[in-house]
């Protein structure tokens, strides 16, 4: 009897030690456990946190075009876009400075992925509203995602008085719509590029040459010269035979200057309108004869709602 108890005891001891040995051996199966200094953390074997690329562009516009950036959740962005007249109007108009074309807008981040905005522009006395949604966010960690993709949609309502009040005029004739996919990649700290397939729809067009649905491809990018200063450019190619030959493709060059809560964008552009249907399909200026506007966008953000998961006091 006694012997059996002892042998049972020995067996159970052996088993226990064996299992413990396994239990101890397990962490050392995982990478580089050097108990003591170097990699205690690997004992925790935590999964990597997904991080999203931030600041692909400094603000929600490259110049005229929307960028993949959104207003963050709970943030209100008050934005003024201003274009002076054409530089080639000469000294009499002080090279365009006598004229002021502008849009002011209020834009808001509902979530970190969805933003909405509305504005008023004195070009065509237009009201606009838009939404922008981040479908794919560039990032790394659990998954490597090489680029960001956003969907942008806007509706513009031109409210100038009817050119011919005697004919049948419909409210729907005032409406223009834009759909865009914003495909961007931040290649490194300095360089970001964006490709923007675009569809503009106009309910009413002036001539037979002008199509109601216009396809275009936007190209945009920025290069940071310092942490707070970048050069930006964008070009929008309208596919052939869709718009009247009096319109030219939009080309804009500029700089972003960032100071605390403001971002200033200064630029030169041949587009007069600051709204998509306008600058994509109705740019009358030509760079080669000085048909360009000097302009700026100013953005000021306000935190309206603290959307942090754990707002500390």
């Amino acid at each position: 009897m006694n012997q059996r108890i002892i042998s049972k005891g020995l067996i159970s001891l052996a088993l226990l030690l064996f299992f413990q040995a396994i239990a101890f051996a397990q962490p050392s199966d995982s990478t580089q456990v050097t108990v003591g200094d170097t990699d205690l953390l690997s004992l925790l074997g935590g999964e990597e946190e997904q991080t999203y690329t931030s600041a692909t562009f400094k603000t929600t516009r490259i110049i005229n075009m929307h960028s993949v950036e959104n207003a963050a959740a709970g943030v209100m962005d008050f934005r003024i876009s201003h274009r002076f007249g054409f530089i080639n109007t000469g000294a009499y108009d002080l090279f365009g400075l006598d004229q002021a074309l502008m849009r002011f807008g209020l834009e808001y981040g509902i979530t970190d992925r969805l933003m909405v905005g509305m504005g008023r522009s004195n070009v065509n006395k237009a009201y606009d509203s838009f939404l922008k949604y981040k479908i794919i966010r560039q990032g790394s960690g659990k998954r490597n995602v090489p680029l960001s993709v956003s969907y942008f949609a806007s509706a513009v309502c031109n409210t100038v008085k009817w050119a011919d009040p005697d004919r049948d005029n419909y409210f729907s004739s005032r409406m223009q719509y834009t759909h865009q996919l914003l495909i961007a990649r931040k290649f490194n700290n300095d360089l970001s590029l964006q490709l923007t397939p675009t569809l503009v729809h106009k309910n009413l067009v002036p001539t037979l040459q002008d199509k109601n649905d216009i396809l275009a491809m936007g190209f945009g990018g920025r290069y940071k010269l310092t942490q707070r200063f970048s050069v930006n450019g964008e070009y929008i190619y309208v596919l052939p035979n869709q718009i009247s030959s009096t319109y030219y493709n939009s080309l804009s060059l500029g700089v972003d200057i960032e100071t605390g809560g403001h971002v200033f964008q200064l630029h030169l552009t041949n587009s007069t309108s600051m709204l998509e249907p306008g600058f994509i399909t109705e740019s009358v200026g030509q760079w080669k004869n000085g048909g360009i506007h000097f302009g700026f966008n100013v953005s000021r953000v306000f935190t309206v709602k603290d959307k942090r998961a754990n707002p500390e006091d």
Binding site: G9, G46, A55, A72, G109, R228, E258, V301, T303, R308
Partner: protein
């Protein structure tokens, strides 16, 4: 019977030994910069900390992008312009403290000197602080506070905002530790 008792005792001892490491994956790191012009603070609730009682080793690691600010734009500038988190995604601390006198299985309060090296924004500096360990009802709370000068870590601060960012930023770490099994 004696052998069984011995076996049980051995198991108990070795379990005790295996619980010599304590960790948290949800440590709270807070920083606070006070100047007459502006107070800036940020919180990070996703930091990892582990201590090894036997060797005295302490390690902390955190993602720079996990710091949350009240102002989203400030958070973006913190990542993009100051800490450059794309280039230097993590900050960490590796050091030692004497935890030999801490009895983690009974209620009590302890102060432990912890000293080591902190790496942030690609620069490594010596850091030391007094950590407090409070054990109450089986809950182990560790905390510490120390000061950091952003200049020591080569963080570029432009002249225009120099008055708004302190040279003595208070860093508080709080964690509820659990034994690593």
């Amino acid at each position: 019977m004696k052998k069984l008792i011995l076996a049980t005792a051995l198991v108990a001892i070795s379990f005790g030994a295996s619980a010599q490491r304590y960790f948290s994956k949800t440590a709270h790191i807070k920083f606070f910069s006070h100047t007459s012009a502006e107070d800036i603070k940020a919180d990070n609730y996703k930091s990892t900390i582990i201590i090894d009682q036997a060797t005295g080793a302490v390690q902390v690691e955190t993602l720079i992008k996990s710091f949350e600010f009240e102002k989203a734009l400030m958070q973006e500038h913190f990542n993009e312009n100051y800490l450059e988190s794309d280039k230097y995604p993590k900050a960490n601390f590796k050091g030692k403290g004497d935890f030999s006198k801490v009895n983690f299985s009974a209620d009590g309060n302890y102060s432990v000197n912890v000293a080591g090296q902190m790496t942030m924004h690609g620069a490594t500096k010596d850091v030391s602080a007094i950590a407090t360990i409070k054990i109450a009802g089986g809950k182990i709370d560790g905390s510490t506070k120390f000061y950091v000068n952003p200049r020591d870590y080569n963080v570029q601060i432009p002249d225009v905002v120099k008055g708004q960012i302190s040279e003595k930023i208070e860093v508080t770490v709080k964690a509820t530790l659990q034994p690593l099994k």
